[in-house]
């Protein structure tokens, strides 16, 4: 099958209809190539799942198929980076952040090579595929690796902006992205700055600090709580490492309650990173870490799971009200 046919294949059309956010991954890489960067994209038998089929169609010579050899893919990406290439390699976050953890530590981070790792279908987005395919530990493993930047964009446009911005970021990066179905938070003109959180409103009563798929429901939850007369803000914290500690301290100084929200185990994730800052810089604010409470998730349709684990708008409103009591 020629590459030209693939963009018109049923797999691609079906995917694009369901997961428009994934287009932004390929689009960001295509932007980089057009800007003259030596991008190489690699996938481990998941080019339809992560949408890299679009990039492969536009730049077949810059797409590498690694097959179901995730650890090999990461190590090879490091080798590629030594030759001046700018490698982006993608697979399910459950495999990248855990199966490939040691290859990332030794071959990517220890060597300080500008490899870009794309862990997709994070958290419990793979629903009934179960624990093998759920990624609720990857922030924890990745942020414990020295020198590795960890980024969890809120939506497709922010992902595309972050990928473009990565051309100027020398350190290796772990991008944590979902399945491309996140409602839009930002417009196409959004920009990205590594290490900076983005404030959405001032919260005297409560501020959500959220990343990734939890940013959109946090914004909706804040709006609902504001309608009830509460002062509630949201911080989108796409860079989990290096964390915007200044913004965490600012929020902790002005809000009674800080609620972190993430599609991840509360141990070791965004909530833990915020807790570390708040513990070392005491304020009057109380911290509530919300996420997966150190358990393996149930299976089910993702929307049902988000409702069950209170990771949707109504769930976040409930968590906030409990904390405000």
């Amino acid at each position: 099958m020629s590459a030209t046919l693939e963009a018109g294949s049923w797999q691609y059309r079906a995917l694009n209809a369901l997961n428009p956010g994934l287009d932004h991954l390929s689009d960001g890489l295509i932007d980089l190539v057009e800007a003259g960067h030596p991008v190489v994209a690699g996938s481990a038998d998941l080019k339809y799942s992560n949408g890299l089929v679009k990039f492969a169609d536009v730049h077949p010579d810059r797409f590498l198929q690694f097959g179901i050899s995730e650890q090999h893919m990461v190590s090879a990406a490091a080798g590629l980076a030594t030759t001046g290439a700018m490698p982006f390699v993608a697979t399910f976050a459950s495999f990248l952040g855990l199966l490939c953890c040691e290859q990332i530590r030794m071959d990517v981070a220890y060597t300080k090579l500008p490899v870009r790792l794309i862990g997709h279908h994070t958290g419990i987005a793979l629903g009934f595929y179960g624990t093998s395919h759920h990624a609720t530990e990857d922030i924890s493993t990745m942020r414990a690796i020295a020198g590795l930047t960890v980024v969890s964009p809120a939506d497709g446009p922010q992902l595309r902006a972050a990928i473009r911005a990565s051309a100027e970021w020398e350190q290796p990066i772990y991008f944590r992205i979902s399945r491309g179905r996140d409602p839009r938070v930002y417009g196409d003109d959004v920009t990205f700055e590594f290490g900076r959180g983005i404030e959405h409103g001032y919260g005297a009563d409560l501020t959500f600090i959220a990343c990734g798929t939890l940013v959109h429901p946090a914004l909706e939850a804040a709006e609902a709580l504001r309608r009830e007369g509460l002062s509630v803000g949201v911080v989108d914290m796409p860079t989990i490492k290096p964390l915007d500690e200044e913004l965490v301290r600012l929020v902790a100084a002005r809000s009674r309650i800080v609620v972190t929200a993430e599609e991840h185990n509360v141990l070791g994730g965004l909530g833990a990173a915020v807790a570390e800052v708040m513990a070392e810089h005491p304020s009057r604010a109380r911290l509530v870490r919300h996420g997966i409470a150190d358990e393996f998730s149930l299976i089910g349709p993702p929307t049902h799971l988000y409702r069950h684990y209170r990771l949707d708008t109504a769930g976040l409103v409930g968590v906030a009200k409990l904390a405000l009591q």
Binding site: A78, L80, T82, T83
Partner: protein, 300 residues
Amino acid sequence: MVNPAATQPSTTSATSPPGSDDGTDRLGDRAAFIRTETIRLIEIAKVGHYSSVFSAAEIFAALYYDVMRIDPARPDWQDRDRFLMGKGHAAVGLYPVLGDLGYFPMGLLDGYAHLGSSFGDHPDMTKIPGIDFSSGSIGHALSNGVGMALGGRLAGRDFTVFVMLGDGEMQEGQVWEAALSAAHHRLDRVVAIVDRNGFQLDGGVDDVIGIEPLAEKWRAFGWHVVAVDGHDVGAVRQVLREAKQGPRTGIPTCIIANTVKGKGVSYMETEPGWHLGYLEPADGERAVAEILAARNGVGA
């Protein structure tokens, strides 16, 4: 300084008579230098992998003093040949080579393994000029080398990537992921060199987890396989040159170097427990004397 021999066409026969003036004497001397320097450096650290270096000494010598296209003044030169070590624990034998070639002042090695030294049991590419990739966790290097070859192809560069693997390393699954990948992507400038010295930490490789038939395994994975006596430095040079300069077939080469763990020091050759150890100074002196005596016999 571009290694002049590296650009010459191959004319050497695989069997080189002792004392001939084809350069093998010098390579043999460099192999002895690798062994004696290894003893000197491990004396500083008080523990190290002597015997893992001794099985590979002729391979190091042939690569760095003859076969590889390198320029010690430009360790990051993109057109250079690359050398990676899956068996990173033999790095103590490579450091003296790099110092000898001028990648860094030889005196730096006097601080081997000291607090904050760049030079430890495993090689660190971010700290040591001439180290093409860091290693230490066995099983990654062939993948790193495949990535380099893919990058070289994309950039239109014609360099060769030599990857030395331990025979115990054949037990790592990632090696075979990389082997599949190199053959699939037709990376004929990837050369794997298996140092088949027969021993690993817990004993004989074939007693721990057997790897034979090894040549058939690599052939089944789509590689061209050559066996060589890993201590016949002329023959080693010959197979390395052929792998580097041979016609582009799309098929990667695996050289199985049949070696002796601890080669050059008689009591190590017969005692597999020497994978990791320490020689008291008096024993170290006797080992050096044996290595040098063997060299003095060449051509006499």
